[in-house]
Symmetry: C2
Subunit: 139 residues, 2 copies
DNA sequence: TCTTTGCACTTGCAAATTGCAAGCAAAATT
DNA sequence: AATTTTGCTTGCAATTTGCAAGTGCAAAGA
């Protein structure tokens, strides 16, 4: 475990030290919106993350308490990753990225519904989604 | 100018292709909240970006229409960088990162006031700040 | 029981990116 | 005219990434 070296005390900079790369937020996206929870799940995502990078990011996110690693209830061969409260609290950040992207990129059909819901009533969307995510922590 | 290679059609992934690194959002932060506008200004930020990385990031952000490069009204030696509308629209993303960070990091005194204002009334903060930023585009 | 498959990584290595120091040309200052 | 400022570019070493292959363990199948 390496010591986390901050570049500055700026909250944005500190945040980017945690998730400021091309992959971490995609893992969080998969956990938050698409029900993924295992190493194999993340590997299947269409962006095609390399296996060593995935292992490394999962470790960093775990060290920073964004996710936690648990035994998989269905199989000893698998691990189950899930968002912590701190990770769930990133929902507004991810949501705003979705809403920004919606203005400037074309949105694939399978994601459209989710974004439209967020667009229609942002607060309601975030409250509902956050409640669902926190419910998972009780299990 | 290199062609932008998307990893997928996912809006989060496309967004990270644009600003998903340790430096781009810090440049945007400097433009958005701290009135910085020149190469030298960004270089002075406490995180200490390398000169070649800064030049490279400014170019990428310009190519992606997040910022634009103009003649500096006061000096021909300087360039003036400013956020486009597309860049200004990232305000909610930056604001939510601030609010997330506020929950999990200790906040330096000089930034505290800004974050407290956002925390007290997020919508009002964003409306006011966005209005100020858009006013700069008219000049 | 033995073999095969699935899962979660780790390792080795080449390629790309980053960080640091130095250099450079045009403009501004002295 | 000489020096400093500004916005870069260049060279190179160090770090990080991406790809392919390999490893160890658990569960399933023959």
């Amino acid at each position: 475990m390496e010591t986390v070296k901050k570049r500055s005390e700026c909250p944005i900079s500190c945040s980017l030290d945690v998730f400021g790369d091309k992959w971490s937020l995609l893992i969080i996206r998969d956990l938050m919106f698409w029900g993924k929870s295992t190493y194999g799940d993340f590997l299947k995502s269409e962006e095609g993350i390399a296996t060593n990078i995935l292992a490394s990011r999962l470790q960093t996110l775990e060290e920073n308490k964004i996710i936690e690693k648990l035994e998989h209830p269905g199989s000893k061969a698998k691990n189950l990753y899930r968002l912590t409260e701190k990770g769930i609290d990133l929902l507004p950040v991810l949501t705003e990225i979705y809403l920004w992207a919606e203005k400037f990129f074309s949105i694939p059909a399978d994601i459209k519904a989710t974004i439209d819901e967020a667009k229609k009533d942002k607060e309601a969307f975030m409250q509902t989604t956050m409640k669902d995510l926190k419910k998972q922590l009780e299990e």
